[in-house]
Amino acid sequence: MPQKLVVIGNGMAPGRALEHLFEKAPGAYEVTIFNAEPRVNYNRLMLSPVLSGEKTFDEIITHDDAWYASHGVTLHKGKRVESIDRAAKTVTAADGTLAPYDKLIVATGSTPFIVPVPGHDLPGVLAYRDLDDVEKMWEAAARGGRAVVIGGGLLGLEAAAGLKAKGMDVTVLHIMPTLMERQLDPAAGFLLERSIAARGIEVICKADTKAILGEGKVEAVELKDGTVIPCTIVVMAVGIRPSTALAKAAGLEVNRGILVGDDIRSSDPDIFALGECAEHRGMVYGLVAPLYEMAETVACHLAEDASAAYKGSVTATKLKVTGIDLYSAGDFAEGEGREEIVLRDASNGVYKRLVLKDNRILGAVLYGETADGPWFFDLLKKQADISAMRDTLIFGQSYQGGAPLDPMAAVAALPDDAEICGCNGVCKGKITGAIAAKGLTTLDDVRAHTKASSSCGTCTGLVEQLMAVTLGSAYNPAAVKPMCGCTDLGHGDVRRLIVAKGLKSIPAVMQELEWKTSCGCAKCRPALNYYLLADWPGDYVDDKQSRFINERVHANIQKDGTYSVVPRMWGGMTSSAELRAIADVVDKFAIPAVKCTGGQRIDLLGVKKEDLPAVWGDLNAAGMVSGAAYAKGLRTVKTCVGTDWCRFGTQDSTGLGIRIEKFMWGSWTPAKVKMAVSGCPRNCAEATCKDVGVICVDSGYEIHFAGAAGLDIKGTEILCHARTEDEALEIIVALTQLYREQGHYLERMYKWLKRVGMESIKAAIVEDTAKRAHYFERFVHSQAFSQKDPWAERASGSVAAHEFRPMADLTLREAAE
């Protein structure tokens, strides 16, 4: 029987602990996680690039839903734990969800500190801790105006740079005389202030906030010296406090953080306190590297390895603002018996300072040129005696041993135990070892196997140099991501070569493009099947065995192996006859659940596989066809009541929706395609979060596309305006065909747009009407082969009958004997 492990908080530290635990003791625990944030575990360090738009949230997810599913973890998203009952060994969330535990990890992280000046509770005063804060900053940025960031530390400066990148005017208020005074000495702080100011961000040091002013919302910040700075938001980034209230209420020993020993256990031996909420040997950490070390210790103890002990860490910091290179480690205050070595190169904006005692490095500050940071940090941690290279130490590693070395040689010369990735504590030997042992060739592989460069990403360059040194010419940093392990080619190359070489079957593709496996895998085969189907309509014969089960049997598989059946309801319209037929089918086949879907139609859930053909036969008889609720193809076209009924309707939105659905059903696409038509800008059909959406207006039709509302929420972009319904239909169909020909398998429209760019799409569909007509024609041609109801084919028993019946029933044979 696995023990029950409950985790409170789904941040970076417990995420890492679970990875180690599943590796060390798979199946030993049944894990339940509660997270106040309504989402999966992500790399919090990378929120700043998300804020600035340099990365998407998707790119910083550490564990996606599939990861939790595959490890049997129950993740309660958006559920805050309110109490721990240590006697009964249970935890209870705000909504009443209760979970019993054998072992508990409290990993509640920290809470941003909000300076309690007057006005601190006005709407528009934000913290910077999670994705919700980032989204609020985006909203503010979309309205424009000035943001005031209070706090000139790491977080405040990253927030300021992000808001600036989003187009806001930004002022940073810092109470100390120089920026980041906890990590930088005054000289480096001054250089930093200069480069922040050079990006158009105003910095005011020694600024003491008196009040935040505003009626019902933030309007300005007032300083003690009387200065008033008008603004629309205030971001407070003045520090964090360990979140300990829950632990305190449960009677655990708490000082600044929850007190833990070298085994990371709290004062209750069944409860670990992990991450920023914990206090170990008087230290509370606010950076991930030490938290990851703690995480590994927790995993060891959970896996019954009682020898593991955490001894505390020295930390190093990098500022992640694109274009500013800054590194600091250790302690650099002045003091008795301390010496320093300083290098300044004003013309190049370089400043380096080492603080030494007894010929050992105590602290390092690097500005403008940080490549040697990890090397100094390594010497610092090992407390290496540097007397032999003291004269050239400050010039960095490449100057040691005579002539300056090139950077590659410097990396090659690093000892195996030199730390490369500070966040994850990965040393050189581990990376080169994994490259050799596992045959790794891409950065993603190295990240997956060693974790190096998978957190803040600042060591990526070093890792790439290491790969180049280890792999030689076999390493190509520009290499595209291969489709899967069966080939080195990416989706784009495969699509291009299929057309260029006229490849018309899966075996032909695999032969010509030198697949490394005999018959592909579950990733590449469905993709190839789609590409061939889309590129050679009429010529290519669909390969059923290369389709995911849902598309093979035209129904959605459920967790218990039964299926769901969703008939089309054109534009969301139905009739008494259809509803009666559905009701009869439900009774006849004892279908356990009937549900209205989010797509304006009805889902029959829990149908036995053997019953599917008969269920479809009955639905067909009432005129209904497959709704393709399983397909990488056209799903639904939602509509509103439009001019038929609504007092605001400007065009026949219901009619247009039905027309589009009847025209386009049956087509296969790279990923699913959902559409909607709203009768006016009130947008009751939610057209602005669909793959394609139409908003009817008095003058015609606004065509939108590339929205999504699933894993990502994204409003649509406007493609163009159409005057007539015919024109609208032609544009939508041509756009879909362009996507069918260019999209990578499983790439939704919004990701396709992001990859190819709006310009190229507009050029083909809006600006060149001849081209548009061409794409329209190609779609129509392919529909001639795909607009066949798959249910009717199967209900007749003529197609794929073997899918629905067991091959043999040996229980009958036994009974007969």
């Binding site: 798979p26 199946g27 599939a66 599913a69 595959s70 049997g72 496996t517 005999s518 018959c519 592909g520 895998c521 579950a522 085969r525 469905p526 059923k544 065995q545 290369s546 389709r547 995911f548 089960i549 049997v553 598989i557 967790k559 218990d560 192996g561 073997h802 067991p806 091959m807 043999a808 029933d809 040996l810 229980t811 044979r813 036994e814």
Partner: protein, 117 residues
Amino acid sequence: MTPETWIAIGRITDIPRRGARCVVTPLGRLAVFRTADDQVFATEDRCPHKGGPLSQGIVHDGSVTCPLHNQVIDLSSGQVRGPDTGRVATYPVRVDPASETIELCLDAAPALAEAAE
């Protein structure tokens, strides 16, 4: 030692290449697979992860990818491919070359089923 009993369950052509079908037995539902090169394997029709019906997965090389959460299972050993772990029970099958009949042997089955637990 009692002689093994081989039960005919159908012809190899009843299963599409790179496909599978299920067989209902007194022990529960089994999945019978046919690979691209006409090898035949039988396993219980239950993924060790969360019970997914393996007969509905995509068959590639000598393995099947479970339809529910994509774990990959080696058909000859029943072992789940790394980094995931787990194992399904496998059953001996053979194909009579003359008649192309697939025959299944359930004699050792209870022992196998226990070993898997």
